[in-house]
C-alpha cells in the first residue's frame, strides 16, 4: 500500500472545524429570534393548557358554569374584562379566561394528535408510492389525487350531519383530509431518494426492500417529516376551530376556541362585546402563527439549501446525471 497516499496526510492542512449536523442546526436556530419567540410561546401555551384547572382554582370560576349574577349586566349583556373576570364573560355569563384555558387543551390536543396521525399515514403511503414506483405509485398516487379532489369541508358537513358532532369525528375528518399534504411531499422526496446511488448500492449488496426503506430512505426523510408535521399542526387547529365555528365540532358546553367564536358570532353579539372575539380570535391567530414560524424556522435551520439565493451546481458531478437524462 506504499503508494496509496493516506488521506490523513491532509491533516497537516489548516482544517476547518467540521461541526455536526445537530450543532449546526442548533446554531442556526439560536440565531433566529422569531423562531425562538414562537417556541417560547408554544411552551407557555402548552403550560397554560396543561394547568387549565389551576385557572379555575385561581379565579374561582368553573369553565362551564354561568355566572348570571356577577357575570352579566342587568340588561343581560356580558360584562367586559374586569378584576373578577380577566377577559370578561360571554353571552351566558361564563368566564372567558377560564374557557380560553380549557379551549387551548382542545386546540393543542387536536392539532398535535391529528398532525401526528396524518403524518404517520402520509409518510407511510408517500414513502411506499415514491420508493416502489410503478403500479404501486399509480394506485397510491391516484388515491391521493382522489382525496384531494374531494370538497373536504362539505364532506365533513355530511359526515357530521349523520354521526353528530364529536371530538373523535373531528380528528378523524382532519386526519383523513390532511394526510395527502405530507403524503405528496414525501412521495416526491422518496422517489428522488430511490434514484440515488446509495439505494442501488444497498440493493446490490442484497438488502431487502424493508431494510432499505427503514435504514436508507426513512432517515433521509427526517427533515421534510419534521417540517411538514410542524406545519400541519396550525392547519389542523384551524380546521378544528372551523368545524366548531360551524357548530359541527366540539359539543357545547365544552369550551373550544372555535366554539367560543361561534357563540360570539351568533346574533352578532361580538359587535357589542369585542372581548368575545378578540381573546379567542387572537389566541387562535397567535397559536397558528407561532407554529407556522416555528415550521419555517425549522426548515431553514435543518435545510439551509432552500435559503441560499444562488444555487451552486457541481460541474462534473452533474455531468453524468445530465448525460443520463438526455440519454433517456
Amino acid at each position: 500500500m506504499s503508494n496509496a497516499p493516506s488521506s490523513t496526510s491532509s491533516s497537516d492542512a489548516p482544517e476547518i472545524v467540521q461541526r455536526g449536523a445537530f450543532a449546526l442546526t442548533m446554531r442556526r436556530l439560536l440565531r433566529d429570534p422569531a423562531t425562538l419567540i414562537s417556541f417560547a410561546f408554544i411552551v407557555l401555551l402548552s403550560l397554560f393548557a396543561i394547568f387549565a384547572p389551576l385557572t379555575e382554582i385561581w379565579t374561582g370560576h368553573s369553565a362551564i358554569e354561568q355566572y348570571r349574577e356577577t357575570g352579566m349586566t342587568p340588561m343581560g349583556l356580558p360584562v367586559g374584562p374586569n378584576g373578577s373576570f380577566l377577559m370578561g364573560t360571554d353571552q351566558l355569563g361564563r368566564d372567558v379566561f377560564v374557557r380560553l384555558a380549557y379551549g387551548a387543551r382542545i386546540s393543542l390536543a387536536v392539532g398535535v394528535l391529528a398532525s401526528l396521525a396524518a403524518a404517520t399515514i402520509g409518510v407511510t403511503i408517500g414513502m411506499c408510492a415514491g420508493f416502489f414506483g410503478g403500479w404501486v405509485d399509480t394506485v397510491l398516487g391516484r388515491i391521493m389525487d382522489l382525496v384531494m379532489s374531494v370538497p373536504f369541508l362539505l364532506c365533513a358537513l355530511a359526515l357530521v350531519s349523520v354521526f353528530g358532532p364529536s371530538l373523535s369525528l373531528s380528528v378523524s375528518v382532519i386526519v383523513f383530509f390532511s394526510w395527502t399534504t405530507i403524503g405528496r411531499v414525501i412521495r416526491a422526496e422518496s422517489a428522488s431518494i430511490a434514484k440515488r446511488e446509495f439505494i442501488q448500492a444497498s440493493r446490490s449488496m442484497g438488502a431487502s426492500n424493508l431494510s432499505i426503506l427503514i435504514r436508507d430512505v426513512l432517515p433521509n426523510l427526517a427533515v421534510p417529516i419534521i417540517v411538514y408535521t410542524t406545519m400541519m399542526i396550525p392547519s389542523s387547529i384551524v380546521f378544528e376551530a372551523t368545524l366548531s365555528f360551524l357548530g359541527l365540532g366540539i359539543v357545547p358546553p365544552t369550551p373550544s376556541w372555535g366554539g367560543m367564536l361561534a357563540d360570539a358570532g351568533a346574533n352578532s353579539i361580538y359587535l357589542v362585546a369585542w372581548w368575545l372575539v378578540v381573546f379567542p380570535g387572537f389566541a387562535l391567530l397567535f397559536t397558528t402563527l407561532a407554529f407556522n414560524i416555528l415550521g419555517d424556522g425549522l426548515r431553514d435551520a435543518l435545510d439551509p439549501k432552500g435559503r441560499k439565493i444562488v444555487r451552486r451546481r457541481k460541474s462534473r458531478k452533474n455531468r453524468t446525471t445530465t448525460r443520463k437524462e438526455t440519454a433517456q
Partner: protein, 317 residues
C-alpha cells in the same frame, strides 16, 4: 392530447362516482328514518309507509343507488325534506351569490398573492422580502372566520358607531340590479376569502421564482444582456407559472371550504350557508346535492387546470 384528455375525464368521472357512492352510502347506513324526517313526529305508520314507497326506500340498496345515479345524471337530485322543493332549484337560486364570491375572490387572491411573491423573491433578503414574508405568515395563520369577524367589527361596526357607514354589515346585492352595490357588499368577503390563498400563492411564487432565478437559463438570459425586468418577468415568471397553475388545482378545494365559512360570517345566502343549514335541519337531499355540486366544480376546475398546464409546458405535449 386526446389520450391525456380521456385520462383526465375518466378520472373526473371516477371522483364523482366515488363521491356519490360515499354520500349515498353515508345516508343509507345512517341512523334515522328519512320518512319520519319528512313526515314529522306526528305521522302515522301508514303515512310513513306511503312516503317510503314514494321515495322507493323499500327497494334493495343497489337499485336505490342506481336510480339515484340515474336521476342525478338527468339533473334530478330529489326534493328537500323541509319544504319539498326540488334540490336543483334551491341550489340554482343560490348559485349567483356563491359564484360572485368565488370569482371575485380568485381575482383578488391572484392580484395580491403573485405580486407580493414576486416582490419578495426579487429582493430576497431585503426589507421588501421581510414585509412579504410577514404578509405570508400572517395570511397563512389567520383563520378565515376570525379575520371576517374582526373585519366586520373594525370596518363596519366601529365606523357605524361613530356615525358613518364604510361597509355594509353583510348580505348580498344582485349584480344586475346595481353593480356598484354588488361590489360594495362583496368587498369585505372577497378580501377575507382571498387572504389565506393569497398568502399561499405569495409563498409559492416566492419559492418557485427564487429557485427559478437560480437556474442556469436565467444566467443565460442575464448573459444576453437583457434587462432585469425582462429576466424576471419574461424568463423567470414563465417558468414559475407552471408551478402556480399546478397548485391552483390543489387550492380549489381549500377555496370552497373558505366559501362556506365566509358565507356564514357575512350572512350571505349562498350554497355554502345552505349546506350548513341543511346539516342543522338534517335535510339530506340538499347535503347530497351540495356535495356533488362541489365535487363537480372541483373536477371541472382540475381538468381546466391540467389543460392550462399542458398548454404552458411544451415538454408535456
Amino acid at each position: 392530447m386526446i389520450a391525456f384528455l380521456t385520462r383526465r375525464l375518466s378520472f373526473g368521472v371516477l371522483v364523482l362516482f366515488t363521491l356519490s357512492a360515499f354520500v349515498f352510502l353515508l345516508f343509507y347506513v345512517a341512523p334515522g328514518d328519512p320518512a319520519r324526517m319528512i313526515a314529522g313526529e306526528k305521522a302515522t305508520a301508514q303515512q310513513l309507509a306511503q312516503i317510503r314507497e314514494n321515495l322507493g326506500l323499500d327497494r334493495p340498496i343497489l337499485v336505490q343507488y342506481a336510480s339515484f345515479l340515474g336521476d342525478a345524471l338527468r339533473g334530478d337530485l330529489g326534493f328537500s325534506y323541509r319544504n319539498q322543493q326540488p334540490v336543483v332549484d334551491l341550489i340554482v337560486r343560490r348559485i349567483p351569490v356563491t359564484v360572485s364570491l368565488v370569482l371575485g375572490g380568485v381575482v383578488v387572491w391572484l392580484a395580491i398573492g403573485i405580486p407580493i411573491g414576486i416582490m419578495s423573491a426579487r429582493f430576497a433578503g431585503g426589507l421588501r422580502d421581510r414585509l412579504g414574508q410577514v404578509f405570508i405568515l400572517i395570511g397563512l395563520s389567520f383563520p378565515t372566520f376570525v379575520l371576517g369577524m374582526l373585519a366586520l367589527y373594525t370596518l363596519y361596526f366601529l365606523p357605524r358607531k361613530n356615525g358613518f357607514v364604510l361597509f355594509p354589515p353583510g348580505g348580498y346585492a344582485p349584480l344586475l340590479d346595481d353593480p356598484l352595490k354588488w361590489a360594495w357588499h362583496l368587498t369585505l368577503p372577497w378580501l377575507t376569502l382571498a387572504l389565506v390563498t393569497a398568502a399561499i400563492y405569495a409563498r409559492l411564487t416566492r419559492g418557485q421564482l427564487l429557485s427559478v432565478l437560480g437556474e442556469d437559463y436565467i444566467r443565460t438570459a442575464r448573459a444576453k444582456g437583457l434587462s432585469e425586468r425582462c429576466v424576471v418577468y419574461k424568463h423567470g415568471m414563465r417558468a414559475t407559472l407552471t408551478a402556480l397553475v399546478t397548485q391552483l388545482g390543489a387550492d380549489i378545494a381549500v377555496m370552497l371550504g373558505g366559501v362556506i365559512v365566509i358565507e356564514q360570517v357575512y350572512g350571505l345566502q349562498g350554497v355554502g350557508s345552505m349546506a350548513v343549514q341543511a346539516v342543522r335541519n338534517q335535510d339530506r337531499p340538499i347535503i347530497i346535492g351540495v356535495v356533488l355540486l362541489g365535487g363537480l366544480f372541483i373536477v371541472i376546475s382540475n381538468i381546466l387546470v391540467d389543460l392550462l398546464y399542458a398548454a404552458l409546458d411544451p415538454r408535456t405535449r
